[in-house]
Symmetry: C2
Subunit: 357 residues, 2 copies
Amino acid sequence: MKINFTPGPSQLYFTVESHMRQAFRDGVPSLSHRSKEFETIFQETTSGLKALLGIPDEFHIFFTGSATEIWERSLQNLVADQSLHFVNGAFSKRYYEIATQLGKSPYKIEVAEGKGFDQNVEIKSDVELIALTHNETSTGVSLPLAFINQFKSKFPDSLIVVDAVSSLPYPQFDYTKIDSVFFSVQKGFGLPAGLGVWVVNDRCITKAEHLLSKGISIGTYHNLPTLLANGIKNQTPETPNALAIYLLGKVVQDLLRRGIQIIRKETEYKAAILYQALSNHPLMKPFVEEPALRSQTVIVAETGDQTERIIKHLQKQQFYPGDGYGSKKKNQLRFANFPTHSKETFERLVDLFEEFA
Amino acid sequence: MKINFTPGPSQLYFTVESHMRQAFRDGVPSLSHRSKEFETIFQETTSGLKALLGIPDEFHIFFTGSATEIWERSLQNLVADQSLHFVNGAFSKRYYEIATQLGKSPYKIEVAEGKGFDQNVEIKSDVELIALTHNETSTGVSLPLAFINQFKSKFPDSLIVVDAVSSLPYPQFDYTKIDSVFFSVQKGFGLPAGLGVWVVNDRCITKAEHLLSKGISIGTYHNLPTLLANGIKNQTPETPNALAIYLLGKVVQDLLRRGIQIIRKETEYKAAILYQALSNHPLMKPFVEEPALRSQTVIVAETGDQTERIIKHLQKQQFYPGDGYGSKKKNQLRFANFPTHSKETFERLVDLFEEFA
């Protein structure tokens, strides 16, 4: 069977198809989003996510069409004028650009692709929002949690927002150090695309209400006050992708049964053996040089002029790597390391690298 | 088997479950949205829709998370200042309110629920957009096509935008008389919710570009120029609900095989027998008095103090009507009449009304 290592849409979590069949048996695809049954699904999915990810009860969880939508909604709802973006690749850059498109005045601290940021970076103290891309999907650089956690005490008036699109459910964030985190379901959760998940605390709600009171546009049906007014009833403002909310809830239950600590340890084991295989290989190496910055969930290999040959070698065994991103398409490969990828799969992948000469 | 008459999310089209199984067999849920396979799906769905609905080739078809999103995006992209809304129920009113929330200066022509508008209504000539809700889902009033078609020649500088959320694929619009139409898939197309479909012509694109050039915010990833830049490649700006785009394409093929003219005639037959049964019934009547305004796709019954009893009577036979909308919950019922509802189903429904005394 074909195994897909693209970092999103990823290989499906192995239980998704059977949950989908159950959903049809239970009439989920045609449930009214104003019914008790839907409210139960919404409640089970959000409380399951809080249990799995260690999100404190006082945070709210809302659903959008995509994480791309949350880039837009977060800046629209949380920033009157200035956000700060740490940019080290295509996706962190896109978040910055969206602020510009919305007519905000963002500023950025930018380093080269594959690099991280100085732990003691100096930033302006009066930014309203600090945008941190935990896992830069294009390059496989992950921000150390200590880097993320430093800002809260230094800049208590700023909102700390973390894009965790391609890292959750792996990282255990310290939710006392951040105000919002978001992700999409087609990566680490192994679900069909079409749902973004936005976690916010009350400071975010208050900020959106403040902008609204000053006459700043915060959007309409998906602004934070409207999401909250519906969310407290376990509902959504619009007719949502209820099937996706149901499937997410079911996969979250599956992951809870496996145990998040076990999933984390397995993730680290799989990443370790692949990075080691790449480091020891005569023809390739990890793209991210600094071990502390290497993503555990999206592993990027610098495969150079061997790229086409190694793709063929892997595909012969039904292993489909992800292409390098953008200009790196011809000389890098990306490997998602998500809960759906088993230890045995990664051990076989490492064997295939070791066989390759 | 339970038959669902709620006007959205509706009873699934009867082929959806088997298309979903095929989608999993073909790997659709984890397809990259930058792959050739996805582009083929996008292309098949959009060209199928054009064939089914008689949409001229020069129109563009884009996908969003919901029709609610298109309310927002259409006003954001097509109106600098003033839109005009014909309001005769909760949904046409919501479209108007979204314009207010976006900081535009909309104006409305409002009539009571259950009513239509004078064919020779007088309106201001300088509105940028005329918003017409073809089928007011809350009350079962449908605007006659002649009413919609009059505006283009009278107001050639305005964009004519039609909300056809709960009527398509039934109406054959005259696309020379309108600039944009939109719908969501969980109503007439009988699909799981989570996808909005937005049809626009080049005048809409030009208008959005004009607003952008004047520094007016038209949003980011889902503004019309960005949707177009991706759409001409059969792609989407964000990772989309690819599964929903695939399923829509498959159901469109099913409807094309049945023949749109047959579907239209069946829709009219089913509506006619239900309206007749309601008109002849001693205990209830159609809510919309004027026959020319009665929706063919959402039939609203004034059931008064019989509401609870008739619900029980119908549910005993596994027929689940939709509640009346909002304040009408206790004394009206709504019946979706979509392509998934067979003639035999409606004949049985009529029998159940006739038995009820």
